[in-house]
C-alpha cells in the first residue's frame, strides 16, 4: 500500500485549445513508455482527432453513468480508479462539476482522493476557472464561467505547467478546426476568441504561474534547508512589486495615482502602506480618508496595508522584505525642524535598509504651486 500522497501536476492554459490535454497525454505516454502503470481516469477529447490519437494505448477506466432528472450524465468513476490503483492517473478538466449524488461535488475533490491513495495525477485547467481570477477574466472577456475552483487547488499541486500559445497561433488552430467543430468556429471567433481577449488571458495565466512560483519560493525559504538557503540568497523576485507609502490625507491620492501608473507600465503588483502611529485610531477626516483610500485600493486591485510602527523606516523595510517589494514610491517628507534636520532622511534610510530596491520620491504639486510667484 502506498502511504505517500501522489505527485500532482496541473497543466494550466489561457483558454480551450492551447494544448493542455495534448500535453497531459504526451506526459502520460512518456510515463507509460517508462514502464509505469498509467490510466486515463477521465479524458475530454472534444472530438479532436489529434487528441484521440495521442490517447491510444493508454488504458482507460470506463466512465460511470449517472441519471439525473431523466438525463444520462457521464463522469469519472472514482471508486473504479481507486480499485484499479494505477501509478499514474490522467484526469482532464479538474474544474468540472460532478453529477449530483457522486462522492464529491467537484472533480478536483475526486483528484484529492486519488492523490491520497498515493497515485500520481496529471490534470488540466483553464485560468478563468480560478476563483480569484473569475471576476477579472469576466470583465476582460465578457464571459463568466460557472465552474470555478479555489486558487488553493493550484497551491496544492507539486507542479503547475503553463501551456502557452500566442493568441495568433490559437486563432489559427481554431480556424483550422482543431479546437471546435466547424459549426462552432464562427461563434467562437466572434465571442470569446478575440485577439485582445486572448492576449489579456495569456497575460493573466503567465502572471498566475509567476505568482505560484514566487509563493513556492517563499515557502521554500521558510523551510530553510541548505539548498533553500542558496535559493534565498538569490534575487528576491523576478517580477516587479511596488510599495507606495501613503498617509490618510488628500495628497496621497495623487501618490497612489502615480504609483498605479508606474505599476501599470511595469506590469507590477501594487501595495499601499500606511505606517500608523501605534495605538492610534483614525477618526474624523482621517478616518474618512482611510475609507476612501481603501476603496481606491480595491478599485485599482491594489492591497492596502496598515501597519502600526514607531519607526517608519524600520516598518517600511520589514513590510517591503515580506512583500518582495522592488520599488518604493513616497511623497516628499514634511520639512524637518530643529534637531530633526540632523536625522537621516527617510529615503536614504530606506535605500540603506533595502539594497536593490529603487526608491522614488514623487513631487508634491501643491508645494510647487505655492512657490510660484
Amino acid at each position: 500500500m502506498r502511504a505517500e500522497r501522489g505527485h500532482y501536476t496541473i497543466y494550466l492554459g489561457m483558454a480551450a485549445g492551447v494544448g493542455k490535454t495534448y500535453r497531459m497525454l504526451q506526459e502520460g505516454q512518456t510515463e507509460l513508455e517508462g514502464g509505469r502503470d498509467v490510466v486515463i481516469g477521465l479524458l475530454e477529447t472534444h472530438g479532436r482527432a489529434e487528441t484521440q490519437a495521442l490517447a491510444e494505448g493508454i488504458p482507460v477506466v470506463a466512465r460511470r453513468r449517472v441519471t439525473y432528472r431523466d438525463t444520462d450524465l457521464e463522469d469519472m468513476d472514482l471508486p473504479a480508479v481507486l480499485r484499479r490503483r494505477p501509478e499514474v492517473c490522467l484526469v482532464d478538466e479538474l474544474a468540472h462539476t460532478n453529477a449530483p449524488g457522486l462522492e464529491h461535488e467537484k472533480r478536483y475533490e475526486d483528484i484529492e482522493d486519488i492523490l491520497d491513495a498515493g497515485i500520481d495525477v496529471l490534470s488540466t485547467v483553464n485560468v478563468q476557472h480560478l476563483e480569484s481570477l473569475n471576476d477579472q477574466v469576466a470583465e476582460i472577456s465578457g464571459t463568466r464561467v460557472r465552474e470555478t475552483v479555489p486558487d488553493s487547488v493550484l497551491g496544492r499541486a507539486d507542479e503547475v505547467v503553463l501551456i502557452d500559445l500566442s493568441p495568433e497561433a490559437l486563432l489559427a488552430r481554431l480556424r483550422a478546426g482543431k479546437v471546435y467543430k466547424p459549426e462552432r468556429i464562427e461563434a467562437a471567433l466572434n465571442g470569446f476568441f478575440r485577439v485582445e481577449n486572448l492576449a489579456a488571458l495569456r497575460e493573466i495565466a503567465l502572471r498566475q504561474v509567476a505568482e505560484e512560483v514566487e509563493a513556492k519560493r517563499l515557502v521554500t525559504e521558510v523551510v530553510g534547508t541548505r539548498d533553500d538557503t542558496m535559493a534565498a540568497d538569490m534575487s528576491k523576485a523576478v517580477g516587479e512589486r511596488l510599495l507606495a507609502l501613503i498617509e490618510p490625507y488628500p495628497g496621497s491620492q495623487r501618490l497612489v495615482r502615480r504609483a498605479w501608473r508606474s505599476a501599470q507600465r511595469l506590469g507590477a503588483q501594487l501595495d499601499l502602506l500606511w505606517v500608523a502611529p501605534p495605538g492610534h485610531e483614525p477618526e474624523g477626516d482621517q478616518e474618512r480618508q482611510l475609507v476612501a483610500m481603501r476603496q481606491l485600493a480595491s478599485i485599482l486591485g491594489a492591497t492596502l496595508i496598515v501597519e502600526p510602527g514607531d519607526d517608519v523606516a524600520d516598518t517600511v523595510a520589514r513590510v517591503a522584505r515580506d512583500r518582495g517589494t522592488t520599488y518604493i514610491l513616497m511623497g516628499r517628507s514634511r520639512r524637518a525642524r530643529g534637531l530633526a534636520r540632523l536625522r537621516i532622511p527617510l529615503p536614504q534610510r530606506l535605500m540603506e535598509a533595502l539594497p536593490g530596491v529603487d526608491v522614488r520620491v514623487v513631487a508634491d504639486r501643491s508645494t510647487r504651486h505655492e512657490r510660484t510667484p
Partner: protein, 189 residues
C-alpha cells in the same frame, strides 16, 4: 536661589526638550498638526472621459470664496456580472489620467483638491454610497441634454430630493462642449 543652580536647571530643561524633540517619533508631532476639521467640501461628480468645464469652473470659484476643498468624484459602474468590490482596471484607465488633469488644473488655480473614484451598480448608487460615507457641503453637476450620458434627469431629481447638501445643477449650455479632459496630462501620466 543660587543663580548657578537656576542656570543648571535651565540648561538641563533645554537639553531635555531638545532630546524629546529628537527622540519623539514623527507621528507625535504630526498628530498635533492635524488639519483643521470641518473643511467645506464641494463634490464634483462626473462620468466618462471628461468633466464639464463649466461645472469645474463653478466649483473652483465657489471653493475659492469659501476656502473649500473640491472633491472631483469619478463614478464607476460595476456590471452586474461582477462582484461589487471587484477591481475595475478598464475604468481606472479612464479615470486616473482625468483625475490627475483635474487636480493639476485646480491646484494651479489655488484650490485644494481631494479626488475620489467611487463605484456602485449605477451612477446614482455610487453617489448614494459615497454621500452616506462622506457628507459634503455642496454637489455641483452639469445637466446634459444627452440622455445617454452621465447622470439622468431622475438622478438629478434624486440628488435634489435626497442629498443633505446644497445641490447646484448647471443648465445645459453650448459652453458644455468645453471639457476638462485627460489630454493635458497625456504623455506624462
Amino acid at each position: 536661589m543660587n543663580p548657578l543652580i537656576i542656570g543648571a536647571v535651565a540648561i538641563a530643561a533645554a537639553a531635555a526638550g531638545l532630546a524629546a524633540g529628537w527622540f519623539l517619533p514623527p507621528h507625535g508631532r504630526r498628530a498635533r498638526r492635524t488639519r483643521a476639521r470641518g473643511t467645506r467640501k464641494i463634490m464634483l461628480p462626473f462620468t466618462g472621459m471628461s468633466i464639464s468645464r463649466r461645472a469645474f469652473d463653478a466649483a473652483v470659484r465657489l471653493a475659492r470664496v469659501e476656502g473649500a476643498t473640491i472633491m472631483p468624484t469619478y463614478l464607476a459602474r460595476v456590471p452586474r456580472h461582477l462582484a461589487l468590490d471587484a477591481p475595475l482596471p478598464n475604468q481606472c484607465l479612464q479615470a486616473m489620467p482625468l483625475l490627475e488633469a483635474v487636480e493639476q488644473r485646480a491646484i494651479a488655480q489655488g484650490v485644494s483638491v481631494d479626488t475620489r473614484i467611487v463605484r456602485g451598480r449605477t451612477y446614482r448608487d455610487a453617489l448614494r454610497r459615497t454621500l452616506e460615507a462622506e457628507p459634503v457641503d455642496r454637489v455641483i453637476v452639469s445637466a446634459t441634454s444627452n440622455s445617454h450620458k452621465g447622470l439622468s434627469a431622475d438622478d438629478l431629481e434624486w440628488l435634489l430630493e435626497k442629498v443633505p447638501a446644497e445641490v447646484l445643477i448647471l443648465r445645459p449650455d453650448p459652453e458644455d462642449e468645453r471639457k476638462v479632459t485627460a489630454e493635458g496630462v497625456k504623455g506624462h501620466f
